[in-house]
Amino acid sequence: MVPNEQILGLAAVLFAVGAIGFVARRNVLIVLMSVELMLNASNLALVGYGRLRAALDGHVFAFLVIAVAAAEAAVGLAIVIAVYRRRRTANLDEVKTLRN
């Protein structure tokens, strides 16, 4: 049986990698992928705790997180396409105002 500390440690490192990508990269698509990475790290932590307590509630929460991530990716990518149509850019630094 894998000790819970190792599962949580891996989840924490994965989350930190995603967080670094979120703040350091300026390409919208890679920023969205970093968010997916962080969501996966949280899923791993939920599964780890579910196993520690032998309770399946963690699996259900991870399932709901996956469903919400799918909705987030759909809306986020639609926004990316809408912004690209108007501005011809995918660089977050160049998208500063809400209008036009």
Partner: protein
Amino acid sequence: MAEQIFFWIFGALALGAGIFVVAARNPIHSAVALVFCFFCLAGVFVVLQAHFLAAIQVMVYAGAIMVLFIFVIMLLNLSDEELGKTKWTITKWLGMAAACVVGVVAVWATQPRGDDEPAAPGGALRMVTERLPSVVAGEEMSIKLIAAGGAPPYTWSMVDASSMIGAGGRMTPDGQLKVTAVKKESKLDGLDSKLALHVTVTDAKGARAVRVFSVPIVHPSFGTTAKVGGLLFEKYAYPFEIVSLLLLVAIVGAVVMAKKRI
């Protein structure tokens, strides 16, 4: 032991792929690395007995979400000029430093440390261990219980009050507890089946402290579609419906957003 080896193989691959996602310049390289990372995480889920989630991870994440990403990347077909040059401003360095600090603190907070044991020897005899982790059916778990206060040395004893055949614990007088659960699942053993262990610690002066530990058992059916689905449609039926509504709203929102003129 094999579990731990596979956990770290898949975990290290997922971590390496995750770093490549963040570091790669070309978004397509990032996306492919992210697909690989999701597959490795599905492997980790299998090791952790989350079979249903592993299947969902491959189907929804690696299948649906990443196809959407790659589709959008190819639709935009970004040139180097449109990708833009990364400007390293002071706020970006601060953000990266903050993210690194968050990671280090999170790892530090999850790791066990020796200073958890209270140093103060005084006070009445008490048991420091408050809770035991779950035990996997068919495996033996060995754990050292800790007491404080009173007059050491301590003598430990345990009575197994659970009525499960072939399961139970053994305890040595120095506080080493070994718990086993048989790998045979009858219809009566639901998810909630637990071992109840009445542990007593006695110090040199005859003072006693008693605590009942309930040890949850991870059965072979843990994490299968039947069990997770049962929980999803009974206890969590309401959140499940709300998520379906959220997905509907997201579909409508995405369609409206992607129209030619907003």
